[in-house]
Subunit: 321 residues, 2 copies
Amino acid sequence: MQGTVGELGEFGLIRELTARLPKTPAVELGPGDDAAVVTAPDGRVVATTDVLIEGRHFRRDWSTAYDVGRKSAAQNLADIAAMGAVPTALLLGLVVPADLPTTWATELMDGLRDECQVAGAGVVGGDVVRGETITLAITALGDLQGRAPVTRSGAQPGDVVAVTGWLGWSAAGLTVLARGFRSPRAFVEAHRRPEPPYHAGPAAAELGATAMIDVSDGLVADLGHVAAASAVDIDLRAADFDVPAQMADIGQAVGVDPLVWVLSGGEDHAIAATFPPGVQLPARWRVVGTVTGASRPGARGRVTVDGAPWERTAGWDHFAE
Amino acid sequence: MQGTVGELGEFGLIRELTARLPKTPAVELGPGDDAAVVTAPDGRVVATTDVLIEGRHFRRDWSTAYDVGRKSAAQNLADIAAMGAVPTALLLGLVVPADLPTTWATELMDGLRDECQVAGAGVVGGDVVRGETITLAITALGDLQGRAPVTRSGAQPGDVVAVTGWLGWSAAGLTVLARGFRSPRAFVEAHRRPEPPYHAGPAAAELGATAMIDVSDGLVADLGHVAAASAVDIDLRAADFDVPAQMADIGQAVGVDPLVWVLSGGEDHAIAATFPPGVQLPARWRVVGTVTGASRPGARGRVTVDGAPWERTAGWDHFAE
C-alpha cells in the first residue's frame, strides 16, 4: 500500500479501495462484478451525479483526502435527501494521476465510506482510470419509501419558506482559508466537511413540503430554481436568519457582510423547502420567508430579500472565469 | 447554439443538452431537479459507473462526438445487460474545456440518447463542469425483472462457455485506424460504435446462465475474472471461434494473427456466459469452451486456449504506460 497508484496498478488500487468498504443493508451485491445490485423497496430509485475536479472544487492544500471524500459524498447524498428520499448507495468514478500517493486514494475512500455511513448508504461500485487531474464522479442513489418525490416545482403562493442545516458557514470558512488563515476552526471545518441534514429531507416530505432543494450554490440562487420551476415569487426576511456572533466577527475582520455568506454562500448543503401555511415545523427548521404569489406571466419567478432584489454575488457558474 | 460551451455557460449548456432528451417509460422524473426518479419495478436496481477520458478512451480525430456518445453509453449499458438486467436509465457527468464547440457536446448527447434508445433506457440526469480534458463519467441503471443477478462467481465445473455479439471487430478496427487507414469500414465502424447484444443478457439469465460478463477488456482477460471469482479453470477451443474472412484478410495485411483480436481485443462488448451442460442455446450464441474443473487450491482460476496458456496481449491496464 506504499507508493503511488501507478506502481500499484489499476486492479491493485481497486482491491485496496474496495477492501475498505463494509457490507451495508441496502447492498445486495457490492463492488467487483459488472454492476452492483442495490435494494429499491419503493419500486423507484432516486439518482443524481456530480463531478468534482481538483483545483476547481477542492484543493489538496486546503483539504485532506479524507475531507474531500466526506464532502463529495455529502454533496451527492444531500441531493437525494432533498428529494425526500433516503440515501442507499454511492458509486465513484475516480480519475487519478499515476504519481498520486496510494494513501491519498485510500483516505479519500475512507471519507466517502464514512459520510455514506452517516447518511445510511453504502459505496457499491465504481471505476478508476488514470488521467492528469484528480476528478471524482459520484452517483448517489436513494429510496423514496413510498412517498412522492418533492421537486422544485410544487411551491404555491402563500406557502412559507423554511431552511434547516447550516447556512453561510462554508463560505465564511472559504473566505478564511483564501486569506491564508486556518481558524476559526468551526468555519474552516464547515468548509472542509459540510454536515447536510440528511434526515430532514424525508421528514420534510412527511410534513407536506410542497417544494424542496439542496442548497449547494447559495440560498438565493437555489431558491431561484424553485421560483422558476414553480412559477412563483419568493420573498425572504433578512431579520429571520440566524447570523452567529462568531460569523459576524469574521465578517467584521475581513470586511464582508455575513448576510452575503448566509444568503449567497454555497456548499453547506442545507435544505430549503416550502410548506403550506400553518405547518408545524420541528425546532431545527427556521421560517425565513414566504411565497408571495405567482410570478408575472412570461417572467421568471424571482427571489427578493425584504422586498428588494438581492444582487450580491449569489451562486456561481462553473464555466465563468 | 453556435460557439463554445464557455460562451454558452453552465446553465445554457445544460438547457441545450436536456432539450434533446425524450421522455422514456422508466423515467418518472427526468433532468432538472436535485435528482431523477427512475422506476425499479423489481424492488432492486442494478448500477454501474465508467469514466472515459479523451486521449485514453477516445480520440476526437478518430471518432465523432456522436460516436463517442454511442460508445460510452454502450459500454455502461452492456454492463447492466451482463448482469441479466434490462437497462433503464443513464446519468452523465461531463467535463468540458471552455473552448469546446457546443455542437460537440450536443452531438455527444445525441449519441448517448440514441444508444440508450436502442437499449431501452433514458438519459435522466447529469452534471457538467469545466476542466482541461474532456471526461465522461457515465452511470447506468437497470432492472432485474425478478431474476437473480448473474454474477461472475457462479461458473461450475462441467459448464459450457458461450459467447454472443461481436469479438475482435473493435480491435481490428483500432489496428486499422492506428495505421492511418479508414477502411475496411465495417471494422472501423465496429471500433467507433460497438453493438452490444443487450437482449442477450436477460435472455441468458432466463436460460439459466451460471456466470456472465461483459467482454470489455478482451475475452481471455474477462473470462479470467469469471475463473477467479468462480474458482474454476476454463479452456477455450480456438477452432470454435468465428474468424470472418475479411478479418483474416486484414490480419494478413497488417501481420497480426486475427485470433489475437478475437481472444484479446476489447471494446466490442460481447457477452460471455457459462451455462449448465446440455443447455439449448439460441442460434446467436456460440459455444467456445468448457469449465474444465475447480481451480487448484490457493491458485487463481485460469483460462487456457486448447489447453495451453494464452499469453498474447490480453486486456489492458489503464495505469500501465
